[in-house]
Amino acid sequence: MSMEHRESVPSLSFPRQTLVSLLVFALAWEALSHLAPYLGIPPFAIPSIVKIAKSFADITPLDIAVTLARVIGALIASFVFGVALAVAMYRSETLENYLHPMIRILMAVPVVSWILFAVLWFPGVEFRIGFVLVVVCGPVFLVDSLDAMRGVPRELRHMMRSFRPTTWQFFGKLMLPAIVPSLFTSWKVNISLAIRVVTIAELVGAVTGIGHQLSVAQELFSVADVFAWTLVLVALLFLLEALVARVEARMLRWRA
């Protein structure tokens, strides 16, 4: 398979090297779990592979579905909010001058601070989680979209204007399609960001979701459960990234 083909159609299969490295890690872990008592490490800190596998059996699909729904819902809201505001800022220099410092401040605030603000400001758990995700992911979509719009070649903008489009046509037929490659990059960055942020947000007050299950596992000192849920999160991230990569390859097939 050529490099070009490999790039255009992302594969969901694991290369041999990945499988080998995962196997080596699992064997090392298993060995360490047996050696732990002799090394002065409490046995519960490094559970055996069998114990972790048993924890996998207790994974509740509902919690995965809830976390996934929160992530996807918040990403869609962030995308709409970010791109809409980017279009408005691209059209109005005044608006951009006023909003740009605010966006920079938003992006500088740590996630933990947003979670604390959300807990203090909003009573509803779902709204808190949604707020934190949108306030973290939205600016990424906004900044990336705005930069990409500014990067649309002048020649193409000039050509489009020469055919006298309405404002909607100008954005619908030129600017938005032109920034699609950048939007895919933003989606990939934000999926990873959202998966990590949703877990922290769910730790505070949520009664469902992977973050909540992690919190329960921590209270029970069950490292095996923490491990299992973490692996689920990682798998979820890979799955979403692969999904986006597939859609990207399909939508950007016009690229050389």
Binding site: H158, M159, R164, P165, Q169, K173, W254, R255
Partner: protein, 274 residues
């Protein structure tokens, strides 16, 4: 297609002036200084001039993307800038580079201006396909721009421009970047289609061969689009084209009209005896 009285309106340029303020220095630059020009319906006019003489500014004013600082540029009784929407589908352009949208197939690029004027889907497709076929691209309608050669891409750009059957067709150095054979072929095609559509065509070029070969008239711009010469090519016998080319060259270099450009069909005044 425009036939009989349903032709494109004349273009009247009176005292046209365009001044830019440089962003870095704040100094004013006069790009066009009091230009007067009349272009009759269905005329094919080649505008020649040296780099920076105001040709592209004139092009932008014709498209209506910028407003004149002073004077008027009217197509019929309307200004392409002030009546921007009126000219949607009435003015079309072919640029130096094809400027195709890379994410659209040849067919979708050709139908772009038809989408903008709001034609029904079926008609858009039919018209775009017809123009691509006329330009010899019937086998490549689903190809993306990166899959086509430079000449083929420029053909798509020409199909895109003609798809709306515009009153005014503008071409800005449209064939300058192509090899000589392809350029000559496309130039002929462009001219034939413009005549067939009954469009007024204005070509901006720096290639004198192209100007002489294509234009009914050659308008020579000096600095700040000063009108140095207005040549009706048909009045020149083909045997004198070499002289015409030399005279235009000399006009461009000296920035003043060469006496040899005197219209050969116009009666010459005899020198009065002292």
């Amino acid at each position: 297609m425009k036939t009989g009285t349903d032709g494109p309106p004349p273009i009247e340029v009176r005292g046209l002036r365009k001044v830019f303020r440089q962003a870095t220095t704040g100094q004013s630059v006069v790009a066009i200084d009091r230009l007067d020009l009349t272009i009759a319906p269905r005329e094919v006019v080649a505008i020649v001039g040296q780099t920076g003489c105001g040709k592209s500014t004139f092009f932008d004013l014709m498209i209506g993307l910028t407003a004149p600082t002073e004077g008027t540029l009217a197509i019929g009784d309307k200004s392409p800038h002030a009546h921007f929407d009126f000219f949607r589908g009435r003015i079309a352009t072919v640029f130096q580079q094809d400027r195709l949208l890379p994410w659209r197939s040849a067919l979708d690029n050709a139908r772009l201006p038809l989408e903008l004027i709001g034609l029904p889907d079926g008609e858009q497709r039919e018209r775009a396909l017809a123009w691509l076929n006329r330009l010899g691209l019937g086998q490549f309608t689903n190809a993306f721009p990166h899959e086509l050669s430079g000449g083929m891409r420029q053909r798509v750009a020409i199909a895109r421009a003609f798809a709306v059957e515009p009153d005014i067709m503008l071409a800005d150095e449209a064939f300058g970047h192509l090899d000589e054979v392809t350029a000559a072929e496309l130039r002929e095609t462009f001219l034939a289609l413009a005549r067939e559509c009954g469009s007024t065509a204005i070509l901006i070029t720096h290639q004198l061969e192209e100007a002489i070969g294509v234009g009914d008239r050659i308008v020579v711009f000096g600095k700040s689009a000063k009108l140095l010469a207005d040549i009706h090519v048909a009045r020149w016998p083909k045997a004198k084209y070499a002289l015409l080319r030399e005279a235009i060259q000399s006009t461009l270099q000296s920035n003043k009209p060469d006496p040899r450009l005197h219209d050969p069909a116009a009666p010459r005044r005899k020198k009065a005896n002292r």
